[in-house]
Amino acid sequence: MSPGEASRFLMQASFGPTVEEIARVQQIGCAAWIDDQLTKPAQRHLPVLLAQQPSASNGRYFNDRRKFVWWQQSVTAADQLRQRVAYAWSQIFVISDKSTDAFTSYTDAMCDYYDTLLVNGLGNFRDLLRSVTYHACMGVYLDYLGNEKSDSNRKVDAGARRPDENYAREVMQLFTIGLHQLNPDGTPQLKDGQLIPTYDNEDVREMARVFTGMHYAGHETNWRWGPVQMLKPLQVYRDYHDPFRKVLLGGLKILPKYQDPAKDIDDALDCLFEHPNTPPFVCRFLIQRFTTSNPSRAYLSRVAQVFVDNGTGVRGDLSAVIRAILLDPEARQTGDNPDTGKEREPYLRLVALVRAFNGKTNNKDGIFEVAYLDDLVGQEPGSAPSVFNFYQPDYAPPGPIASAGMVAPEFQITDAVTCVSLPNFLRDCIYHGSIGRYGANILLDFSQENQLATKPGLLMERLSLILTGDRMSAGTRAIIRGAVEQISSWKPADRVKLAVYLTSICAESAVQP
């Protein structure tokens, strides 16, 4: 395998290539690298948070702290694949500090939620779905925490209280089956030329009755006002759970009356897990996060088939799914098709820069203090505008991409603000060793590059390899080299910074083939 191919693989499978890791992938190959990563234990976020001094005297950690922890782990943790996968899941099982104030004081709980995605993200999808459903953060974010059965003392047509529909709707629309019936290759099924809905509003109401009776642990004696227990799984309380028969998805599954409430929930999650839409729906989302915005039908079929059966009869084996996504010929091809690949997530380009040059910080806690870039970059972990994430899987930017029948989710946050702000952040980091409103101190190590300052050809080789997967065109290379050579060779550091900046903003860095 060429160094460029190894670098490109690491763009897909980690938070960014480094020279050392490129050599390692070249040595052992992509499959063995994945196998090795799968043996690495999850480097959780909550312990890193708790190792720091609290933000306030009452022991609380402010919201920015979990972002610092995210940076620390994403840049430095050895379980890069697992970290990258968790980040992908955080964009499907979205919780966010936006649109609710609650999370700004639940910093530890948000770290714990992320740890749930880390620990289960390469396990089985069914376990992941259950652990998310039972996490207090999701209960708060999508409002089913404290959701009660209908008030049977009042007639429904006289305005009786009925269950909250939020989780019922979004767990179907966004987390598992989507809005329309799909073929196994992800294409929509049609009837008389029309899309076929997977559910209607009555199905949402039935599903809403399933997610009743869930509350914080320890609310046996005081359902409404018991203790706030953000770090423990939610419990189901029989007295507040709808006890009656539930017909799910138009009869796909029927839950008998008076069934154990936890079994109701498990059966409903099983129903979604077993639904034929779930493999192509979830796999398309994952492929878009790692390799390409527009997987071919064949590629999506191959991955979805692994979701259906990992080869030993197990459905939902996520290690196998991620492996299939990354090792598929369509992911590994290095051909010249101009329509493959994806825009790299803008936020991840910053992380990749820091990884590429072994970034360190001399902040007192020893961790990167990067937070609140989202107004300008369009995204930040745990801060999506809503449960619909930063962008949607089917976003087609009007213009050539939409007219080619293609989608490009990341282009939903690519506009005149983000396209300019991201290069500015990259430049601040490269030139001034800081990012963002805290002036987060990040020191990049250019010592290897400085030695190449008088050999611009070799410098460009190296930068093209670690920042673009060795894909820099001859034209781009000539432009950057031409600029670098205008700086006196007596100023090697200036040469290197300019070369790194221009490489980090060039089109070949913005897009992953």
Binding site: S99, T100, G146, N147, E148, R154, V156, D157, A158, G159, A160, R161, R162, P163, D164, R169, Q173, L179, N201, R205, P338, G341, K342, E343, D375, G378, P385, S386, Q392, P397, P398, G399, P400, I401, A402, S403, M406, F411, T414, D415, A416, V417, T418, V420, P423, N424, R427, D428, S473, I479, I480, A483, I487, L498, Y501, L502, A507, E508, A510, V511
Partner: protein, 466 residues
């Protein structure tokens, strides 16, 4: 920023980009747009140069505002029905701010107690409410709804309904919005401007995407330029030349080309925008809230309209966080005042700029919410209430049909999810027409409008704009 950096090739490339965008339409539609556009210019010539400016400001309440608590019955049987349906979500009748002057066919309505500034605008005749608006393919009955005939795609889903408010085409997916299509017809009034007539404070949005005109995104602090083109940021001439060269290259990858074109357009627009708008300072004090800051920036951009060379504009402002499945009362109590105060400041600024009659602000939102309660909040509904504000608004009145809020009526699809009595098309066609879209162009902008309104009738779609 150094003006020297940006040479005439920018304009050439921008033009090429517009042609590329135009290429996404079919040729017949494009020629229709062009001929309509010429017709629009002839109409504009009758206006004097000083008054030939109009802007629409879309304030999108993302998440689905529970607008039957923003505008609610205040007395009599109507209030009793409201209270019986909404139960613990009902506001006290004595808390609702009385709105004088409502038409006889409406119940006596009151405004949410957190919106006294909006009430003042209503009383002064510069604000109006539009009742029970939502996405419709065509007018439908409850029976038709039950048979799923002509129901909007993805009804009750956030993403679909947000999209349909922006496209006004709930029966199909389409990559342009009604604001953008209206702008395509009006763009020749803005010839020569380096900045798009569609400015967004909330990033990309389908509403402002036309076939030729695309949105330009700014922040509440204005536009942003590349530091590597700015000598004040230490940019050297060879750094800037290299950046420009990278942007001007042609890329084979469709993603690379699109990405670099977006950046290219951004730096060209930034120079013109910042030069025109940075000098504009207003005496009007805006609230220090997200909506206040956004509308402050919109007001400053309107202040810079002559320097920008823009005679027709749209602005897109968004406030998220309205998906109140829980704590709807408490959340609205905090959020509706933000809207009311920001809108009042904006109107004051328009007076300061002497353009109050040339700027109209209107609200949009995913959907109304269930009238019934889930115990703490409300769920996704359909029709909802909206307001328009501006000197050209025939204010102090409520337009459309404010429905009975009893359950199981002929428009209740269940749990108080009401079939809209006015389509998004009708509501927005009134606004587009005021902006300058000729009657002959209305069905280009709103392809389904004919199901609700006849442009040849000589009557306005709703009648709230003068």
């Amino acid at each position: 920023m150094n003006r020297r950096i940006l040479n005439s090739s920018l304009t050439r490339r921008r033009f090429a980009g517009q042609l590329a965008c135009a290429g996404i339409t079919s040729t017949p539609l494009l020629s229709t747009l062009l001929s309509l556009s010429l017709a629009g210019r002839a109409a504009a010539d009758s206006l004097s140069p000083n008054t030939d400016y109009r802007a629409l400001v879309c304030l999108f309440l993302n998440g689905g505002n529970d607008s039957f608590n923003m505008l609610a019955p205040r007395s009599g049987l109507d209030y009793k029905e409201y209270k019986a349906t909404r139960q613990e979500l009902a506001l006290a009748s004595t808390d609702l701010l009385p709105l004088g002057g409502a038409a006889a066919n409406h119940p006596e309505l009151g405004l949410h107690p957190g919106m006294p500034e909006l009430k003042t605008l209503f009383d002064q005749g510069t604000a109006a409410f539009i009742a029970n608006v939502g996405s419709l393919v065509r007018p439908i009955t409850l029976n038709e709804f039950k048979k799923q005939a002509a129901v909007p795609l993805g009804l009750f889903s956030h993403s679909d309904q947000v999209g349909q408010w922006m496209t006004a085409m709930p029966d199909r997916g389409i990559a342009s919005g009604w604001g953008g299509r209206a702008s395509d017809l009006l763009r020749d009034r803005n010839i020569g401007s380096k900045v798009s007539m569609n400015i967004s404070l909330a990033g990309n949005n389908l509403f402002q995407y036309g076939h030729q005109v695309v949105p330009y995104s700014i922040t509440p602090n204005g536009s942003i330029g590349l530091k590597s083109l700015d000598p004040a940021q230490g940019a050297t001439s060879f750094e800037s030349v290299a950046v420009r060269s990278l942007l001007e290259q042609h890329y084979k990858s469709i993603f690379e080309q699109a990405y670099m074109e977006t950046t290219y357009g951004a730096i060209a627009a930034h120079e013109a925008f910042s030069a025109a708008v940075e000098p504009v300072q207003l005496k009007t004090v805006f609230p220090n809230t997200p909506t206040g800051k956004d509308l402050h920036m919109v007001a400053r951009a309107i202040g810079g309209r002559r320097a920008l060379g823009l005679k027709r504009q749209t602005f897109f402002v968004q406030r998220g966080g309205w998906d109140h499945h829980s704590e709807v009362l408490q959340n609205q109590k905090q959020m509706l005042p933000e809207i009311s105060q920001a809108v009042a400041a904006f109107m004051a600024a328009m007076k300061e700029l002497n353009v109050a009659e040339q700027v109209t602000l209107f609200t949009a939102s995913d959907f109304g919410r269930t009238l019934t309660s889930n115990g703490r909040g409300s769920d996704h509904g359909w029709g909802g209430n909206h307001f328009v504000v501006g000197g050209a608004v025939k204010g102090g009145a409520i337009y459309g049909n404010y429905p009975s809020l009893a359950l199981k009526t002929a428009i209740d699809t269940g749990q108080g999810r009401l079939i809209p009595s006015m389509s998004v098309d009708t509501y927005c066609a009134e606004l587009a027409r005021w902006l300058g879209v000729p009657d002959s162009g209305l069905t280009t902008v709103f392809p389904n409008l004919g199901s609700f309104y006849s442009a040849s009738s000589g009557q306005p779609p709703v009648g709230f704009m003068s």
